[in-house]
């Protein structure tokens, strides 16, 4: 079974410029691996800069380069944080992040694995997220977080990408065949540059 939410494009033309990184969670606790998310996100941002040559005579190009680098670093870090946080390691399937360079936009795709038990709440969350006004939902979430003493998750990663970075987001959920209890989640972010 495959289910799509939001702006998930299956038939994107393949890009000649792409970077894929895979993470096998292994035995080290997530807390100790957390710093790797930021390091990997910064690496992806640095790597991409090769394709945006810095024209030293043009102040505008340097600023644009800084903007793109910062956006890639933010989006990749949030995607990795989510993928790591919600991944079920018992599935023993690596987490992946791919960055593709298309003409006027970048495409990120992360994949991670969740259990059937996590599926229903996640489907409800995605239905709500993709049918609401993101700006309204964002402010609502900030106020809600402020009232809760013990919120473990800020619920802001996807909303900041949509609101502050004008990104289009989509998800593909794929149930593994019986008797597997796992579901692969692919998250696609299209970022205009």
């Amino acid at each position: 079974m495959t289910q799509i939410f939001g702006n998930y494009c299956e038939g994107l033309p393949s890009s000649p410029e792409f970077l894929i990184i895979g993470f096998s969670p292994g035995s080290i606790p997530l807390r100790q691996r957390w710093r790797n998310n930021g390091l990997s996100a910064d690496f992806m941002a640095d790597y991409l800069m090769t394709f945006f040559p810095d024209d030293r005579c043009d102040a505008g190009s340097a600023q644009r380069q800084a903007e793109v680098k910062s956006s890639v670093s933010y989006v990749a870090n949030e995607l990795l944080e989510n993928a790591m946080k919600f991944n079920d390691e018992r599935a023993n399937i690596p987490i992946g992040i791919e960055l593709q360079l298309h003409g006027s936009h970048l495409v990120f795709v992360t994949t991670n694995t969740i259990t059937q038990d996590q599926l229903e709440p996640f489907q409800h969350y995605l239905e709500h997220l993709t049918s609401s006004d993101p700006e309204e939902l964002y402010l609502e979430q900030l106020e809600k977080n402020a009232l809760e003493e013990e919120n473990t998750s800020s619920g802001l990663g996807f909303l900041t990408m949509m609101n502050d970075y004008s990104a289009k987001l989509g998800w593909k959920l794929e149930r593994h065949g019986e008797p597997s209890e796992f579901v692969t989640v692919s998250t696609m972010v299209q970022l205009p540059i």
Partner: protein, 120 residues
């Protein structure tokens, strides 16, 4: 009132410091901690500042290079706490050279319309 004369949390990656004479909380470096639990010590510091008997609070972010969404949630919490203290004025100092700030700091103003957002 909580003693906030000189409060500071410093690691290799970031520093958060309250300077009472200037009523300023400065956040510097890269804040990408894992979820709200790991932000707890900083949330406590900010809460104690929000509870301080003062007429103004300045949040200086001009040297904060990175902030993840959990960190955005933490700063929003702080702004909402200060907003509840109706007699306290708040200003936030951001840097135009740090791109995430140009994209995300306006949301703090949406939470507290009287907040003065200053750009260096």
């Amino acid at each position: 009132m909580t003693d906030t004369a000189s409060r500071e949390i410093r690691t290799d990656d970031y520093c958060v410091r309250y300077d009472e004479p200037t009523q300023t909380v400065a956040c510097q470096g890269s804040l990408r901690l894992s979820g709200m639990a790991e932000y707890e010590p900083i949330i406590d510091l900010l809460s104690s500042v929000a509870d301080t008997d003062t007429d103004a609070v300045v949040l200086d972010l001009t040297d904060l290079e990175f902030l993840n969404s959990s960190g955005i949630s933490m700063l929003s919490k702080f702004v909402i706490k200060v907003r509840h203290r109706k007699t306290v004025t708040m200003s936030v100092r951001g840097s135009r050279t740090i791109p995430w700030q140009g994209k995300s700091l306006k949301n703090l103003q949406r939470l507290m319309p009287s907040l003065d957002l200053q750009w260096d």
